[in-house]
Amino acid sequence: MLRSLFLFLSGLLVFLSFDAAAQRPGLPSRKVAHPLLLEDAGRELTITEVAAMADRFRRSDNAVAIPGATTSAWWVKFDVENPLDDNLYISIASAGLQEIDLYHESIPGQFSNVSYRAGASGDKQIIQSNMPLLPLHAPPGKQTTYYLRVTGNAVLQLRMEISSIENHLAMQREDDFINGIFYGVLAALMVYNLFAFLTLRDVTYLLYVLYILFSGISTLILNNYILVFFPGAGWLNEMTTGLPGGMLFGVLFTNAFLRVKQHAPRIYRLSAPVLLFILAVPLAAVFIPWPVMYVVLEIAMYVTFAYWLLAGVTVYMKGFRPAVYFLVGFSLLIGLGMVYNMRDNDLLPDNYFTRHSAQLGTALEAIILSWALTSKVNFYKREKEALQRHALEQSSAFSKELIRIQEHERKRIASELHDSVGQQLILIKNRLLMLRNKTQDAEAQSLSVDLSGNVADTIQEIRNISYSLRPYQMDMMGLTQSIQSLADETGDAANIVMETGIDNIDHLFSPENEMNVYRIVQELLNNMVKHAGATRCNLRIHRAVWLIKIIVTDDGVGFTGKNEHGFGLLGIRERVQIMGGQFIIHPDEGAGAALTVNIPISYHEHT
């Protein structure tokens, strides 16, 4: 599932990047690249003062204006040409936008102003979005100079684009849609792994969920979504909360997933100071002003990256295969982050892929790591299943062996009794009979007759014991006849009308399994006699191509409420299981019980 999601997402983006020339309405979007910048450290300059200081503006080295982490207000100066009578808007994308004021000289000496304030409903003309859209009111057919004043509380990177309102809205809708997919994927992975945590109680999953949660929050901050949708949650909109959270759980996740403690104990020792450092960042942010904190945050980030890389590579070198997932996910995060950066600097074309590569990096990393975790679940599952199968096989083999030994022992005792004791007694009886014929002594004759009677009784007892241990018919007349006799005798002995219909099932099974079949029938009939209180019983054995079907029905009290795990039934179940068959107790239909045993015929079995 994750694999296909991964391929789908990357495929979708690569495909869309070729489709970037999709027609949008209105004037095509134009970036404000390398604009003129002016820092207002005291945040006190007015538009008239700024307009007079034209020579103090400096051209930005970067295509995107990067005032960076700053407490100053920044002024941006640019020209806009409105060739047609288009309704032009400027979009400003940056993290932590607080105040935006847009000025242009509408009448000479008079500046009209559009202003935006974070979290406030602001001017009715402003379109609240993660990228605020401000109307330019550009007069048609000429070039107009604009001044933009911006303050922020995060790393200001002003991506500004000018286009008709239709074009802006179409683009933003597409962006929102794609972002929706990314956040949807992240949310799904979080829920999935949270359940994995709840099921498996493996803290790695929880750490993963928290890592993704904070990484997600960080990208939400960067994309300005939090400001739009949670304007009150100022604390949440702080990079000093989101990013250290992601790094903290990232490090913990790394330790848990890669088992750094076992695989690379030396590197593991570094994790404590790293974690302390990361934890110190949000605390320090309370006291230390933002521009300094930005440097601290950067350092913390690189330290964390270094730790991840070091741990990943070392553990992989130690031969822990899953580390490859970790490294691939991490590389994607970095690599796609770089793509995003290169697009900002005009080194890569602006298309879906480059515009969303940062989120894509996060999402792909999340998917790959989740994938790794899933294979970990599967690994556990397979291991557990293998163990269970092994245990089952063992117990089956054990009971098979037990039954085999039991039958063997019975046979041994039976033949011992029959062949040795029985034969001796037969000899004795024959000699007594000879003695009676030879002697003329009446007393000796009657004594020998008495004695031979006693011996005959003993022989009969030996016979009974021997028959109960092992049916003599099995070797002599085959399985079918043995079962027929068994049914007849059972019926006679219990005074039950026994109806039988037994197909020839000789030579279908190994001698061992023939005995199992016999014992199953014996136990079925014994149960019926003991518990059913029946007057009629029907025993059918059908032979089909691949199985034999043993059906016993009676008119007794039935099985309702009976213990289905009695010793006799247990014995049947065990023997049925050994032969890979089924034992079915049919629900009572009116009076009596109905039991079916299906036993597959294995033609490979040596008979």
Binding site: H418, D419, G422, Q423, L425, I426, L427, K429, N430, R431, L433, M434, N437, V455, A456, I459, Q460, R463, Y472, Q473, D475, M476, M477, Q481, Q484, S485, D488, G491, D492
Partner: protein, 218 residues
């Protein structure tokens, strides 16, 4: 009287030795071959041409029933006596079905064997008295449909069937009914034809199944 050549097969040497002594002390009998298992017995019959074959039912390689079946395949008229320690009905019925004439309980062998040899050489069935007593004492069910078939018999045929079921020989039946042995065998043939019975000892087997063993004296 000519000397009868006898083959005996049993895997218990002591019993075999004792049995041989009893047989040879009985008069004109000579044991020409002793087999220790069923296979040897079948081969012995082929090479030694005995007049009577005595087989133990429990033997290695081929058991008594299997050996008898093979022997009767090539020599259908061969009188065979089965020695057995099994006092059970199914093995007995099986023996009759195969066409074995004598069924002797091992425990009574010294007493019964000479009678058995005499009986089977005359072409009659022989069953150890203890065995027939045992079978008669057992409860029997009447086989389904047999009752209707019995109804088609004449009163004298009906009487004969019951005597056959009581393991009486033709001679004994003749004595009991005060008729000639020839008449008895005529009656037997008529019954067999009437009921379309076929196979070895078919009348005896039918009589046992149909009458449920004769319990009332006739």
């Amino acid at each position: 009287m000519n000397t009868l050549d006898i083959l005996i097969a049993d895997d218990h040497p002591i019993f075999l030795k004792g049995l041989r002594e009893v047989i040879e002390s009985g008069g004109n009998y000579r044991v020409i071959y002793q087999a220790a298992n069923g296979r040897e017995a079948v081969d012995g019959v082929r090479s030694k041409h005995p007049d009577v074959v005595i087989l133990d039912i429990d033997m290695p390689q081929l058991n008594g029933l299997q050996a008898a079946e093979e022997i009767l395949l090539t020599k259908p008229e061969m009188p065979i006596i089965l020695l057995t320690m099994h006092k059970v009905k199914d093995a007995f019925m099986k023996a009759l079905e195969i066409g074995i004439l004598g069924y002797v309980l091992k425990e009574n062998a010294v007493v019964d064997i000479i009678h058995a040899i005499q009986s089977v050489t005359a072409g009659n069935a022989y069953i150890s008295p203890e065995m027939s007593t045992y079978l008669l004492r057992q409860k029997h069910k009447t086989a389904a449909g047999a009752g209707d078939m019995l109804a088609t018999l004449t009163p004298s045929e009906f009487r004969i069937i019951h005597l056959v079921a009581a393991y009486k020989t033709s001679k004994e039946i003749a004595e009991e009914l005060h008729i000639s042995e020839k008449t008895v065998s005529n009656h037997r043939m008529n019954i067999t034809r009437k009921l379309s019975l076929s196979g070895k000892n078919s009348l005896l087997r039918f009589a046992i199944e149909a009458t449920g063993g004769s319990k009332t004296g006739f």
